[in-house]
Amino acid sequence: MSTATEPSLDATARAREILGVSRLTNSALTTWLHGLPGVDQVGAEARAAGLSTRSIKASSKAWAIDLAISMIDLTTLEGADTHGKVRSLCAKALLPDPTDATTPRPAAVCVYGDMVATARAALGSANVNVAAVATAFPSGRAGLGVKLADTRDAVAAGADEIDMVIDRGAFLSGRYLQVFDEIAAVRSACVRDDGTSAHLKVIMETGELVTYDNVRRASWLAMLAGGDFIKTSTGKISPAATLPVTLVMLEAVRDWREATGEMVGVKPAGGIRTTKDAIRYLVTVNETAGPDWLDPAWFRFGASGLLGDLIMQRQKLTTGAYSGPDYVTID
């Protein structure tokens, strides 16, 4: 049985090797992160806008829509969530379009920790993961003990994936080591009794980090600390996911793979509502990180309303006619 501290030590050892330092200190991390090339805001936004002008032909569009559906983390994260609400969201995940059984299922259902068991039961053995937000989501303002307990609780209840938030306060005040240690500790808390581990997505809350330089640094820090995915936002802060932010993150995972050989996933979350939006993101994935990332294992959309629009567009492609919102089930 693995103990909770081992992977954390592993993370530090690995980080020391990657940074080429004998001791992982805050100043070593600062030097490393601040040594990353800067991001020019105007240039990054112009590139994202340029990628938005690509048009996709019909056969690729059908494929892209199905891919986008299979990449969705179908999400409900409200104070008003009930077991009933979560069960109906799960029903939607299992049967996204009752009129067309060939519609793929989303990758996961994303809920608060106390709803994991409900979601797990509702999904049964179906190939839809349960993702839980943890670590005092969305603000992350709690002690480490609480955050770890939050994580372990969700994992014990059957979560396949954990969406943690970083401590933006610590990041913005330059305490990178603290952010690193926290991610590494949560990573350890994702380990189950049988030695397997829940997938860890690291939410950077880019709307609070503000600059693209910060987004790039936070991305590298999260990857260094062992995050399986880097994720833009909680959905509780505006702006949530934007195309340029996602572009910068895709550059980060591309460069990380070049540096270490490891692939890390990317998840934009919040604010992606239409098929057109989703396809723009997929184009950006394709031309930035490359086609290897065009897979639910490496790219996800955190969204709720997006699924409805994708299904509507899918119906349009198969039937040739637009239905309307009443022909797509809500939830």
Binding site: P37, G38, V39, D40, V42, G43, A44, A46, R47, T53, R54, S55, I56, K57, S59, S60, W63, A64, E251, L282, V283, N286, E287, P291, L294
Partner: protein, 481 residues
């Protein structure tokens, strides 16, 4: 697993009517030319688009006389506010008919539709809007006391940005009260001829703008015509020198916007991903048919390998092909002649020992095409580092210190533009001060705006276009009356 297939998403050419033949636009109407009519082709397909009249010296004389009459009787007497109204009207019509112009420009020139749609035509309209605003405010432009128009202006423009160069030339000339005889390039006359239609639609008084088509001899006839008060030329340095020689000793003034061999300088602290975008935009925008193209990449040696690797990876995603496809990034070379010139210089580059690399992408079977090409291991001594290639070919050189970057950047007979990529603001200012180039871009490249003056040092020409400075070339002031 299927992959993303973007193409084809072709723009419809139904929006534009191309006549089978065109005359000359003189005195507000189309008249027949007396020279040998010539064909203009679509460089992407080699299909003939139309037959265009050639203006002889007599035709040019008729155009100059029409311009003189319009100048003395109407345009120079009109108030600035009224001239402004016409310019605003032209600008609005250009916007309304933008799609038509974009499609025609792409057909005649070979540039990607996304470029003519998003850059050329909107900027051309912006130039008219901008100068419309100046028409009644010339006295406040700090040009000198009592600014007055020069008279009849002869303008000769190139094929790389046909509509945009037309706007750069005509808008300030008209705003200042001059009348115009303009010659578009022989390979790309169609948008200028469509523009004549806009002038009629705007009810511009006959003769204020005259458009004569033809090749070098027509241009020479304009240059030599005694009724011309000022010449404005954009094109090659060789032709610019000929013009300067031709008008030496006459009262004619000239502004010349000529070639370039710009350095795009990347420091080790540059925002690398955006710098790579800027390098691509600097040299592969408009197939490299840009006088201010960043054709020499000067990269700091400590990051040269990384930049080169990232650049090649990025170039692999460039889509070369049908210019009418909205997903196309790089279109066709404008003419066989230009393709031959590019091929010839690339062969010289290889022979002189530089390492050639290209994307290896597939090219269409008909038309004039050249793969985006990068030369590494280039030094200042190489021909490809000195001569303007005017095609999608980048030469990569390295430097060690800022002073060396400046020395290499300035070590060219040209001096049109330069780019600096660094996150250090103080270095940008120092470099901009040292570089002998008319335009210096910092952390961007190939950005144009009507409010910003554009023009060169040394063999890149003299005079400025755009902005308040651009007006200076179209007025006389004070004692100069």
């Amino acid at each position: 697993m299927p992959t993303f297939e973007y193409a084809p998403a072709p723009e419809s050419r139904a929006v534009v009517d191309i006549a089978s033949s065109y005359g000359l636009f003189i005195g507000g109407r189309f008249v027949e030319g007396h020279g040998q009519a010539f064909k203009t082709v679509n460089p992407a397909t080699e299909e003939t688009l139309a037959e265009v009249a050639e203006a002889t010296a007599d035709d040019v004389d008729a155009a100059v006389r029409a311009a003189r009459t319009a100048y003395t009787r109407v345009w120079s007497r009109m108030s600035g506010a009224d001239r402004g109204k016409y310019l605003f009207r032209i600008a609005r019509i250009l916007q309304e008919r933008a799609r038509e112009f974009a499609v025609l420009e792409t057909l005649d020139n070979g540039k990607p539709i996304k470029e003519s749609r998003d850059v050329d035509i909107p900027l051309a309209a912006a130039h008219f809007f901008y100068h419309a605003g100046w028409a009644d405010k010339l006295e406040y432009a700090a040009l000198g006391t009592d600014p007055r128009p020069l008279g009849v202006v002869g303008q000769v423009i190139p094929w790389n940005f046909p509509m945009l160069m037309l706007a750069w030339k005509i808008a300030p000339a008209l705003a200042a009260g001059n009348t115009v005889v303009l010659k578009p390039a022989e390979t790309t006359p169609l948008t200028a001829l469509l523009f004549a239609d806009v002038l009629q639609q705007a009810d511009l008084p006959p003769g204020v703008v005259n458009i004569v088509t033809g090749a070098g001899t027509t241009g020479q006839a304009i240059v030599d015509h005694p009724g011309i008060d000022k010449l404005a030329f954009t094109g090659s340095t060789a032709v610019g020198k000929m013009i300067a020689r031709s008008i030496a000793g006459t009262r004619k003034r000239a502004t010349l916007e000529l070639g370039g061999k710009a350095a795009n300088i990347v420091f080790d602290d540059a925002p690398i991903d955006q710098a790579v975008e800027g390098i691509v935009n600097g040299i592969f925008f408009n197939q490299g048919h840009v006088c201010c193209a960043g054709s020499r990449l000067l990269v700091q040696e400590s990051v040269a390998e990384e930049v080169e690797a990232r650049l090649k990876r990025r170039l692999a995603t460039l889509r070369v092909g049908d210019p009418m496809d909205k997903n196309t990034d790089v279109g066709a070379i404008n003419s066989r002649r230009q393709l031959d010139r590019v091929s010839e210089l690339v062969a010289v580059g290889e022979k002189e020992g530089a390492t050639r690399w290209d994307t290896g992408c597939e090219l269409p079977g008909t038309g004039f095409w050249f793969r985006p090409t990068v030369f590494t291991g280039v030094s200042q001594a190489h021909t490809i580092a000195q001569e303007e290639i005017f095609g999608p070919v980048l030469s990569v050189l390295t430097f060690r210190t800022p002073a060396e970057a400046v020395a290499k950047a300035n070590n060219t007979p040209y001096g049109l533009s330069a780019g600096i990529w660094t996150e250090k603001g103080s270095r940008i200012l120092w470099m901009a001060d040292q570089l002998r180039a008319g335009v210096v871009w910092a952390n961007t490249f190939n950005r144009f705006d009507p409010t910003s003056p554009f023009g060169g040092y040394k063999e890149s020409g003299y005079g400025r276009e755009g902005g308040r400075h651009g007006l200076e070339g179209y007025v006389r002031t004070g004692a100069d009356q």
